[in-house]
Amino acid sequence: MHKPAMPTGRSDSTREEHEPTSALLWDEAVGARSLPRPRNIAIRSIQETIVNSVLDAACAKFGVSVVRALVPGGQKQVIVVAGSDGVERVLKLIDLGIATDPSALERARREVALLRDIDHPNVVRLTSDLMEISDPSVAVAWLEELLDGQDLRHCGSKWPADQLVALGRDVAAGLGELHRRHVIHRDLSPGNIQRCHNGRFVVMDPGFARHTLRSGVTVGGQPGTPGFMTPEHLQAYSGAPTPASDVFGCAALVYFAATGQPPVPYKGDDVDYLRRLRTAAHVPLHDARPDLPASLASVVERALHPQPARRYRNGAALAAAFGAA
């Protein structure tokens, strides 16, 4: 059995999780953030031993072997594995034994239940059911398709208009499929959008998606990535994120690809960020990139409107708008 390699931070990682930059914004949302840090090498060694044993068990369950790690260690591991057929897939493993977030299992179940039902070219495809490791469960795992290409963090900026339209149209179409199933992604960021070699864009990691027909476990502290949140991420009750928030998030990604900056960038000061986020104050795209067609800038600006009811209502509507831009 191969052991996972150490993280390299290479740009070809398809599941490299985005590391949050703000504990204040992130603490409630991501259990991994509040994991106790290993205090010495001995403790770390014990933890790695446990992690590896769980990974071994997961691989045994699926009949796969480890090829390389994309996100090793911590609460959630993302590993490239290969089955007996030689096909590489992504193994996602949530180790309940060291997870401090009690809702980890529920999150995993929700993510898998969601993805299992979706077969859409712009949403990452699940290739297995959720498997629980040991009895009682010490971990859960599942397999996803391995996507080639790179995520948006490694795709540069100042994209031309046709590529921006393709990005917006594809991501919005994927979101539209989620929204059709009453699911909100809520955590769109460059790290979870993959640009495949064939030019297709795929939405990944709706791991914090809240299935609106079920009881959500992420109500309250809204999950999100600083720099890519929406004004609704500041609300805890009725004003919490909706499909129109994903519309904002999608437009923020297009803006990011166009300019190299999100529309409301995080500059290291939480208070300052939240203040600007409330009103979604930003430099209009037609000012930041005057060379882009007005029709494209208009779609992005409408999708970035601070009032959710002024945006496109959902991903399908946004995809249609990008298609017509």
Binding site: Y237, S238, T279, Q307, A309, R310, R313
Partner: protein
């Protein structure tokens, strides 16, 4: 026609609504369980009879359950209310989805009996990101699950409508439900006229109306003159009436009070289109005697001596202003109202000097103008 008549403590809803519909100055009426008895009580006809009469005469008839009024401080005038089968369980109990669904079903059943379009109930919200606002969202969602084409109601106090980003987020969540239309309500702590509208409230009401009216009709209940900025932002109609309690949704009007089967004294003040406000009967008499031409230009038309005539003129003023805006959209629609307000601002000092009126432009329209200004600036129109 852009005016609908709110329910009244008097026994003339059907007859005056029918006259207004026939006269072309109202589209119909809204029955309230707080004002109309389900069954005839000797003074008022049964609601079903009133509804049938209005519908047969070509008017729209709506039943607003006014569930939001239960959330008003010291709400307690349930003399008519408790005669309606609105609550299978305890009045006001919306703790769980089961109670919410049962209440919605009861409301819809009454509306079906009366021939009213489906209008979802809601609760009163004072701050748009609280457990109460969550109940409002859940209740509306439940209602639209049962009747996807029902209209939704958004009811909030002045703080709610002035809440900024929280209001926008709450409205955004409601917008996802895609109702058939919207009924907006501003509740007030004071039942005096002119209303104590604030610029922040007007700004929020305009922002909300502008967003929601892009693809759905929006009406403002108990809106009257204070809702004209919402019309400028896209609303199609406002609620009004011949009494103050039909023009303002104020807490005092839902509190326990001594029975007054006659409905109390008439609020018979002439509304002048050129002022976008009203004068007392005495003030108007002074104006007409001292400066007849000015009075005629500002009125315009005739304010008859009877209460129904005064109401007809009031409704015609509202219709006139709204009809001027109705064909327009966006900035030009708002500019129509701004021009009218600018004109009123120049007229009021003269009128006050002649009549001695203490209430003038500042009270009637100052905050409206400020709210419109905020809205225009937010849209980049100034």
């Amino acid at each position: 026609m852009a005016v609908f008549i709110q329910d009244t403590a008097r026994n003339n809803l059907a007859s005056w609504t029918n006259n207004a519909v026939a006269g072309g100055y109202a589209i119909g009426a809204m029955i309230s369980p707080f004002a109309s008895p389900r069954l005839s009580n000797g003074f008022k006809r049964a609601a079903a009879d009133v509804a049938l009469s209005i519908r047969e005469n070509g008017g729209e008839l709506w039943f607003d359950s006014m569930t939001y009024a239960l959330g008003m401080p010291r709400a307690g005038d349930f003399r008519h209310y408790d005669g309606w089968p609105l609550w299978p369980g305890t009045r006001g109990d919306l703790r769980s989805a089961v109670e919410q669904r049962e209440h919605v079903q009861a409301v819809y059943a009454i509306q079906a009996d009366l021939g009213s379009p489906a209008l979802a109930p809601t609760v009163l919200v004072s701050y748009p990101d609280t457990p109460t606002s969550q109940v409002a969202l859940q209740l509306t969602s439940e209602a639209l699950t049962l009747q996807p084409r029902a209209w939704a109601t958004i009811a909030g106090d002045q703080q709610f409508w002035g809440a900024g980003a929280e209001l926008d987020a709450h409205v955004g969540a409601l917008d996802q439900l895609e109702p058939g239309g919207w009924l907006l309500v501003v509740t007030r702590a004071d039942n005096s006229m002119p209303t104590g509208a604030s610029s922040e409230e007007i700004f929020g009401l305009m922002r909300t109306t502008f967003a929601l009216s892009q693809d759905r009709p929006v009406r403002v209940a108990y809106g009257d003159l204070a809702a004209l900025p919402a019309v400028a932002a896209g609303a199609e109609a406002v609620g009004t009436g011949w009494d103050m309690r039909q023009r303002i949704c104020a807490y005092q009007d839902f509190q326990v009070r001594a029975a007054d089967p006659g409905g109390g004294g008439w609020y018979q003040r002439p509304t002048l289109e050129g002022l976008l406000g009203s004068l007392t009967a005495n003030e108007y008499q002074v104006l007409t005697s001292e400066r007849a031409a000015l009075a005629l230009r500002l009125t315009p038309g005739t304010v008859g001596p009877q209460p129904e005539q005064a109401f007809r003129h009031h409704a015609q003023v509202l219709n006139s202003v709204i009809h001027e805006m109705a064909p327009l959209g966006g900035q030009s629609r708002v500019e129509v109202l701004q021009r009218r307000l600018d004109q009123a601002a120049t007229e009021w000092p003269t009128v006050q000097r002649i009549t001695g009126a203490r209430v003038g432009y500042a009270q009637w329209a100052g905050q409206l103008e400020a709210g419109i200004q905020q809205f225009s600036e937010s849209e980049g129109w100034t």
